[in-house]
Symmetry: C2
Subunit: 238 residues, 2 copies
């Protein structure tokens, strides 16, 4: 497997800690805990695209057998974050320029549909003001992390309001990659206030039931973050 990875960034890696509140009592299966930890490590950029996941190594580090590690990795494979080559190895799925673009495109599809449903069904959109205000506050405080978190709450709330389980599920899956992409390109150029300013008009259009304007605004907003530097997300080749 040595030739799947090009730089042995194997050493300094610290996986997210097991943050169980009380310690010995654990009722969620190991595989789920492990999957959560690995997923967090991937979407936060601690495990970069191309990083190799060796079952035996992970098992030894986490003091468990290979079985739960295997299942955890397979869960991540379902999320599309990891790919497996039989008898060769497993690695964090490299991100191509195309995949990044397609990921944002899917996000746009989902959010546009959510907007359509909210207006069609006349669903009250007032719950969106809360994360929107959080964003403004974070923007003024220069709290980039807080802003990103509030932004995600806004978009998740948007999808949730649409009351469409499959849509929410698909959006969640896509948003994992959005997370990962944002973590990899540490892009500090986009002004905070610009992002925050996009949301209030969307809410207003939703509340006024103006379908065309709402859909146009969300389409524009979800397209605005597509640009990125390919070099920052380069994983292993091919």
């Amino acid at each position: 497997m040595a030739d799947l990875q090009h730089e042995p960034h194997d050493d300094g890696l610290v996986l997210p800690p097991d943050t169980s509140p009380l310690g010995p009592i654990e009722q969620t299966p190991l595989k789920v805990q492990i999957a959560d930890r690995l997923r967090t490590a991937i979407v936060t950029g601690k495990l970069k695209p191309g990083a190799v996941l060796v079952e035996t190594a992970l098992a030894e580090r986490m003091n468990v057998s290979r079985a739960p590690i295997r299942e955890a990795i397979q869960i991540l494979e379902n999320d599309g974050l990891v790919e497996t080559v039989a008898y060769k190895g497993r690695r964090v799925k490299p991100l191509s320029v195309r995949e990044v673009s397609e990921t944002y495109d899917m996000r746009q599809i989902f959010e546009m549909r959510a907007v359509r449903r909210i207006i069609e069904r006349k669903i009250p959109a007032g719950a969106l003001w809360q994360p929107c205000q959080d964003m403004e506050r974070a923007a003024q405080a220069g709290d980039r992390e807080g802003l990103v978190a509030a932004d995600e709450r806004f978009h998740r709330m948007l999808i949730t309001l649409a009351d469409h389980q499959l849509l929410l599920q698909s959006w969640n899956s896509i948003y994992l990659r959005v997370h990962q992409i944002m973590a990899l390109r540490n892009d500090r150029r986009v002004p905070l206030t610009d992002i925050a300013a996009n949301h209030p008009p969307i809410i207003r259009a939703l509340e006024e039931g103006d379908m065309d304007r709402a859909v146009g605004l969300i389409a524009e907003h979800t397209r605005s973050l597509e640009s990125f530097d390919p070099a920052t997300i380069a994983g292993a080749p091919q």
Copy 2:
């Protein structure tokens, strides 16, 4: 696990055969073969919603250990066809009316987006005529299965032309459930010719680059098959 299933439709079940062409030579992992067979059984209705999947039983029937069975079932879980309750059991995911509706809604989202992309990028849509003609031939011959197969080829081709890997992947996942739903409600009422007649106008609109008409037609077409009888898809309660 006896109380998750209400009728023991365990006996007469015959899983799809292992159709390896030459026999002894097998290079695809067992888990993949098993997953394929089980998936086929589910989407063709041989394994109905609510049917219980017991690892030991399947392992014994297929003459393998529990490990590949486990992984196969987990793959199906990723496809959304199976659900697992830890330490209790696994079963084919019951289909609610809501899920069926949402499934068709997702399909509509995806196909509408495909149509948009094809027109935006001026992609030639001539490849759609082939399955379309197949459908007409099958319709006139009264070959319902052939028509359904050609219909799927038409829609898959539509998505493929859009040249969007994530979209294709998501569509495939959703279409698994469409398959399953169609297999469960053996609805022979919809006239064959009606379905076949829908496609040519769509292709023409695509070739003429008429965005509004094409999107409207595909939206109407993908909505037309939503009605169904809840009783035919009832699985285990809750």
